[in-house]
Symmetry: C2
Subunit: 235 residues, 2 copies
DNA sequence: GCATGCAGTCCTGTATACAAATCCTCGCCC
DNA sequence: GGGCGAGGATTTGTATACAGGACTGCATGC
């Protein structure tokens, strides 16, 4: 847990000011390729090939693969090589549900732990997204959306929980549909955000958690990779 | 983590029937030594020494250390070696809180997802622990306690969430006090379990989650490593 | 025509060697 | 006497070599 786990939004979390090792650099590069979709799930990752491609020997490649295996982005089967993870639909559904629960917990904590400044910032950020949704500016909305959710992770005041949520989000990244789904989905998303923000500002943790579950189950549907049961909301 | 984050109750989760690699064997051995307290937090883990001690070369040792770093049991700082993780009190408190939230989510899911047989088994297991608590049989109670909590993880029907909870529990293992705290704590623990079971059997997810939070915050206190704020229960 | 067994090739797991960086010790200077 | 710096020893990072298992292809038998 790895994996846990060195669970950061980077694949490798060594302190910033320290010069990272080649394995870390490689792991980050591969993680970007995987989350961006350049290396689709199921792609075999041969050590020799990667080594040649990046101008290093097999050793750091192996360590990078272990690092990525720890984050769950790749799977390593003994003596059978590594491939970009391709979780089956059932597991994917589990990950989406777990993601919702993690973020719901963060939101509930936000409702009680956020100080005045943080609440104001969150509300400001949310308000700033309204024109993007109205204008259908998908790119801007997506960027702001990531920031919004990260603000909820951070606002919970629990770094470990935030790392778990962030790591899960990272693992799910390859399975996000490229688009959120158009203008109506955008405005709906913003409205759902509004419910979350309102509950947090009101200090209602239970409502905040439930609003997050609603939002993420809707998003999950928009992501389109669902193949299992319909999402179940908790009461 | 991973694979997942290699997040299993073993440090390395390769399929059982497959002969594991030496790095996995080593990682499991080291994980046991760490969780059992034989290797206390802060202990430096020199590659050459470990290699000699286990009769292998440095290569599998390095991979084992990466595996353990993924689970969070050890920390690896580039060019400065690995040590058994020693989270500061604040982070420890975060991990305990996250653990409670994860298990609360599992319990809530149990309340709605468990089938009849699973509910019966859970109740039976809980009942079986009563005489252990009454007799003050610490060893038996602890073993049954682990099984009880694992049943809640499994009963949620979400393998990914269960892995996160299990991994967090593993990471916290080195910081558990050796004892639960005596007879009164034992009976109190069993009573708290009773509230959890009752809520699950009643299908009340919210109550189950809250009962878990209560139980774990009490346990946390009994574990004694707390140094931060008192635990905050969510409503 | 299809399944099965076998050999060759490729790839991974492990060991070892070398280079570079860090840590520790000792001596020097203030 | 204490702080600082240089040098060596130790340890990690990386490269390379070798051994063993896994996959590919073909040949053989049914």
């Amino acid at each position: 847990m790895t994996a846990p786990m060195p669970l950061d939004h980077q694949a490798a979390p060594p302190p910033a000011e320290i010069r990272p090792t080649r394995a870390h650099v490689l792991a980050n590069a591969l993680a970007d390729s995987i989350t961006s979709g350049a290396l689709p799930p199921g792609t075999p990752l041969e050590e020799e090939r990667l080594a040649a491609a990046h101008g290093v020997s097999r050793t750091p490649v192996r360590e990078a693969l272990r690092l990525l295996a720890a984050t769950g982005l790749v799977e390593q089967r003994p003596r059978r090589g590594a491939v970009v993870s391709r979780p089956d639909p059932r597991r994917l559904a589990e990950m989406f549900q777990a993601m919702a629960e993690l973020e719901a917990a963060c939101a509930a904590l936000c409702a009680r732990a956020m100080d005045r400044r943080a609440r104001t910032r969150l509300a400001t950020r949310h308000a700033a997204m309204a024109p993007m949704a109205a204008a259908g500016d998908l790119r801007a909305y997506q960027a702001a959306n990531v920031t919004f959710h990260e603000a909820i992770y951070a606002g919970a005041g629990n770094g470990y929980l935030a790392e778990l949520a962030q790591a899960t989000r990272l693992r799910l990244a390859p399975f996000r549909a490229a688009q959120l789904g158009g203008q109506d989905r955008l405005t709906a998303s913003h409205a759902e955000h509004g419910a979350i923000v309102a509950a947090i500002l009101a200090g209602d943790g239970t409502a905040a958690a439930q609003a997050v579950r609603l939002h993420l189950s809707a998003t999950e549907g928009a992501w389109g990779m669902m193949a299992g049961q319909p999402p179940v909301l908790m009461d």
